[in-house]
Each structure stands twice: as C-alpha cells, then as structure tokens.
Amino acid sequence: MTEIKPKAAPSALNETGAVRLRRSRFDRLRILLSRAPLTAWFGMIVVAIYGIAAVFAPWIAPYGEAEIFAKADDVWSKEHWLGTDQIGRDVLTRLLYGARNTVGIALGTTMLSFLIGGGLGLMAAIDRGWIDQVFSRGIDVLMAIPSLIFALMLLAIFDSSIIGLILIIGVLDATRVFRLARSVSLNIAVMDYVEAARLRGENMGWIMTREILPNILPPLIAEFGLRFIFVFLTIAALSFLGMGVQPPTADWGSMVRENARWITYVPYFPFQEALYYALKPLLPAGCIALLTIAVNFIVDWFLHETSGLRDV
C-alpha cells in the first residue's frame, strides 16, 4: 500500500526521485469508504443505529424495561408512542431494550463460537495429525443434525437461561466456524515462514495468533458477519417458539410471539385497528429482518473488496 505522490509534472525522473509516502490507516479507510456502494452505506448506517440503540437503551428509552402500565394492549398515544403490549408494557421501550438484549446475546454467542471453532480449526490445521482427525470426524457428526433441532432437544433438558442459550448455540455453531477456519488455514500452515517459526521453537499459541491468524482474517471476518446472522435468526426463532430468551427480559423474538395473538383477525378489523394490531408483531420482526439484511449487505461488500470476488 505504498503510493508515489507526483509533485511536479509526471515524469520518470520525478517519479523515481519522489519520496515514497505510506498512506495512513485513516487515509486508506477514507478511500475504501468512498468506493462503498449504496447498499453497503445503507447497511453501515442501519448497524450504527442499532449499535446506538443497544448501547444507550436505558437512557433513550422513555420507561423501564419491565415497567407495567394500567392499560394493556393500548393503541398509539402521546405517552406510549407505539402503544403497550398484552400486559401493559411500553412497546417502544421494549424494542429499544430488545436491541440491547437480542443483539447482545447473538454477538456474545457468535464470539464464543469463533473462539471455540476458530481456535480448534487453527489447531487442527497446524497439527494435521490425530488432533485434526478426531476434531474433524466429531464435527462431521455434530453437523449432521440440524442445529435448531439439536438446540430444541438440549433446551428440553437444560433450562433456557441466557447463559445456557449462549453456550448451546455457541458450541453448535462453532462446528461451522471450525470447518472454515481449518480449510483456510490449511493453505497457510504449509508456508515456509510457518515452518521457520516452528523450527525456531515457537509454541502452538504463537503460530496460531502471530503467523496464521493475520493471513486468514478477511474470510474469517466475512464469516463472522454470516454466522452472526445465522445465530441471530436461530435465537430469534427459538425465542419465538418460547424456548429462548424468557420474560421479563425484552427480546424481539419473544415480542413477536407475545404480540401476535391478534394477527389472524387483522384482515377482518377496520383499517385503523388492523394497522395497530398488524404492526405490533411486525415491528420486532421487522427489526430482526432489517438487521440481517443490513449485515448481509456489508458482508457482500466486504467479500467483494477483499477477495475480488465478482459474482455469487
């Protein structure tokens, strides 16, 4: 990433005589962003808004997370901009806290699965011996069960606490991360400089983090986005089924479930009521959909930039 800055008229003499200037990180970021397509901008803005909502939820939200008001199932008003839910909690407040809980849990789960899957994948790729064989075969078996089904089965046995949920989904999802981490680092693990590091006597941790990890970072980051979407949707589905995040914690998946009682009557209501009752479950569901679309757009752009991938 070095660049020649022409000072006078572009000539061979000037070019060779010029000082080679290195672009700063900030410059490179600015140039990268200026090339970003509209969809990527849309994605980044949406993610930023979600981030702000998640971090500052207690300060932005008009009421407390589980505060209950006298009028349940209320329509929109000055006090409750988006009405109240079936037991009288402010919907806007629940949505904002939902950003914090739902996105936070999904992010924590994805990080856990990358820690486990990425770590084991790198180890397997460096080792290429019996560790690799044991992990790979074991993970083949785990991947043979659809993860939603596996998660449901485990949740029938363990309580669905938030920690339990993060552990179950994180471990199940680590299998997918393992596959990718192993296959991309296999190409790097055979490089001469890795061999050199090994002969130098560096330990496994050094080779993993200092020699291989920096070289496989781009595909892993893209995969992080995709895994986040998958985990986010799985947890939303579980919560929607009543097996995920439990009340009174505000969560979008459970909010859809709680507010959907009237949805089948919507086509028969007069317009105004229909709108209220249709939007109550659709707002949290839409929040979920919007975030996944936004992250998808960013990942698409990122893949395009880092791999020169033109299609697919």
Binding site: I149, M153, M243, P267, A274, A278, L282
Partner: protein
C-alpha cells in the same frame, strides 16, 4: 465399475456410522437430565412404589449401554416407547405410545413438505437458470435483491406478512383433519406452503445460479464457445450434464433446510405436524417424544445429504478417480 461400488459403499457406510452416533447422542440426552425426573413427571404426591415402577418401566435400573440397545432395537421395529404425558402420581398409566401420537403428525408434515417441494424445486431451478443466463440484467438484479430479502427475514416475519396480506382470502389456521379431501387440505396448507416456498426458493435459486455461473467460467465451455456452439447448445449439451451434481446437492441441501423451516411455520399456522409436536413436547419436557422427533429430523437430514452425495457420485465420473 468396481471402484464405483467401492466409493458408494464407503459413503453408505459413513452415512450409517453417522446415523448410529447421532442416535447415540440423542439417546444419551435422557441421561443428562438433571435430578430425578421420575418425580418431576409423576408429581410430588407420587409414592415410592409408583416411582420405582416408573423407573423400572423406563429401564433406568439397567446400565446405559443396554438401555441404548433396547431403545434402538425398539425404534427399528417402530416402537419409540411411550410418552411421559398421561402418567400421574397414582401410578395409573394413561400414556400413549409415541408412535401412535407421532404417526398422523408425521403424515401431515410429509404432506406439507411434499407440496412445497413440488412447487419450489422446479421454480427455483428455472429461476436459477434464467438468472445465470441473463446475468447482471435488471431481471437478475431484482431477483437477487428480492431473494436476499426473503433469506434475511425470519420465517415468522414472512408468515405474518402473508397472513395480513392474504388472511381474508385463505385460511390462516391450518387445522387439517384426517378425513379431509385433497382439495380442502391443499387450501388449508396454501399459506404455510407459500411461506416455505419463498424461503427455500430463494436459497435454491441463488445456489443454482452460483453453480451454473461457476460452470460457465470453466475452460471447456470457453472452448465450446470458441468452436462456434450456440448458446442453447452450450447450456444443454455442455453445461447441464456437469451441473447435475451441484444442482442435486443444492436440492438436497434445501430439502434438508425445509426440515428445519417446517418447525417455525407449523407453529405459526398451528399445523399439527411433527415440528409443532416437537416444540410442544420440549415445552412439556416429554423426553421420549422429543427424542423420537429429533431422531426423525436428524435421520431425514442425514439421508437427504447422503442422497445428494450419491447423485453427485453417479453423475460425475471424475469423483470415481480421486487423486
């Protein structure tokens, strides 16, 4: 020819080993259950005798390995044990066999999945082919954007949008009864089918498109083009025969995905299928039913993937000579 059988034999063996380990995993789940679940199932007022009888009935006094083999032999005969619900503290056993509970629901789910597959597979293949052919056209781009949206949205979001949009015209509660005619059944499952179709067509179409574009970029297609073959000739004579393996994989993968998607959709439309049964049993901690459902889902998933691999082997002779 001998090699072909060898490869297929290896793949089949691998499939069965996987199935075996998965069944072992699902079974051992029951021994992970915290505390004494005999008490939890039968209630606090159960006497020591009824508790002991319940444990003996489940064979909890036997070692785990023997229990596993008892269970798996029963499963192969179609006997999944009996449900936890319907038992009470008096020791009077009203529980029904799991198979009896499951059979009609399994039939319903298979019906829903079949109807969806019949609509979705040809639709996705045609759309995938067309978008690959007219790459970067407006048609391709709008299809791309639309499918990205339907993939990103959770199934229940699509389902609710459809309910609001078509709720006046089509039934939103799919309460099928055993004595209904085919037409009435089809009308009831219309909305669930459309929801599932939207999701898997999007996946399948994108994967088909990617597979064909990948193929069209290979040197032998370039060669055919340079030798003056027409576009249709290239597609049907040169590209498609080689595309069957990836397409079969795509189809099997998405039918396996259907297995999972069915859970949420059945709950939304209160369709009495195996997915809803599993969710209900997880809620009531009816472990034998959960195990049976999980085993059926996992087996379907494994068999579909096995089938995809086998089709891949049959249609691609190069796989027979791995270097």
């Amino acid at each position: 020819m001998l090699r072909l059988f060898e490869v297929i034999g290896k793949r089949l063996l691998l499939g069965f080993v996987t199935l075996f380990i998965v069944s072992l995993l699902i079974f051992s789940a029951i021994s992970l259950l915290p505390g004494d679940f005999a008490q939890a199932v039968l209630g606090q007022s159960a006497t020591e005798d009824t508790l002991a009888a319940f444990r003996a009935g489940l064979g909890l006094d036997k070692p785990l390995i023997q229990r596993y083999f008892d269970w798996i032999v029963g499963v192969m005969r179609g006997d999944f044990g009996s449900s936890f619900s319907g038992r009470n503290s008096s020791g009077f056993d009203l529980s029904r066999p799991v198979l009896e509970i499951m059979a009609p629901k399994l039939r319903n789910t298979v019906f829903l999945a079949l109807v969806t597959a019949v609509i979705a597979v040809p639709l996705a293949l045609i759309l995938g082919l067309l978008t690959a052919l007219f790459r970067n056209s407006i048609f391709d781009r709008s299809a791309n954007g639309l499918t990205l949206t339907t993939i990103s949205a959770p199934e229940f979001f699509l389902a609710y949008i459809l309910i609001i949009g078509f709720g006046g015209l089509l039934p939103t509660i799919a309460n099928v009864k055993p004595d209904m005619g085919l037409f009435e059944r089809l009308r009831l499952v219309a909305l669930p089918t459309i929801t599932l179709t939207l999701v898997i067509v999007a996946h399948m179409m994108r994967m088909t498109r990617a597979a064909i574009i990948n193929l069209l970029a290979s040197p032998y297609i370039e060669m055919a083009r340079l030798s003056g073959a027409s576009q249709t000739e290239i597609i049907f004579r040169h590209a498609l025969p080689n595309a069957w393996a990836p397409i079969a994989t795509v189809i099997a993968f998405n039918l396996a995905y259907l297995v999972v998607g069915v859970v949420v959709v059945e709950v939304v439309f209160t369709y009495e299928g195996i997915g809803k049964l599993m969710v209900d049993s997880v809620g009531s901690r009816d472990i034998p039913v959960v195990q049976a459902c999980a085993l059926i889902f996992a087996a379907t998933y494994i068999l579909l993937n096995l089938l995809a691999d086998l089709i891949g082997i049959f249609t691609n002779p190069r796989l027979l000579h791995p270097r």
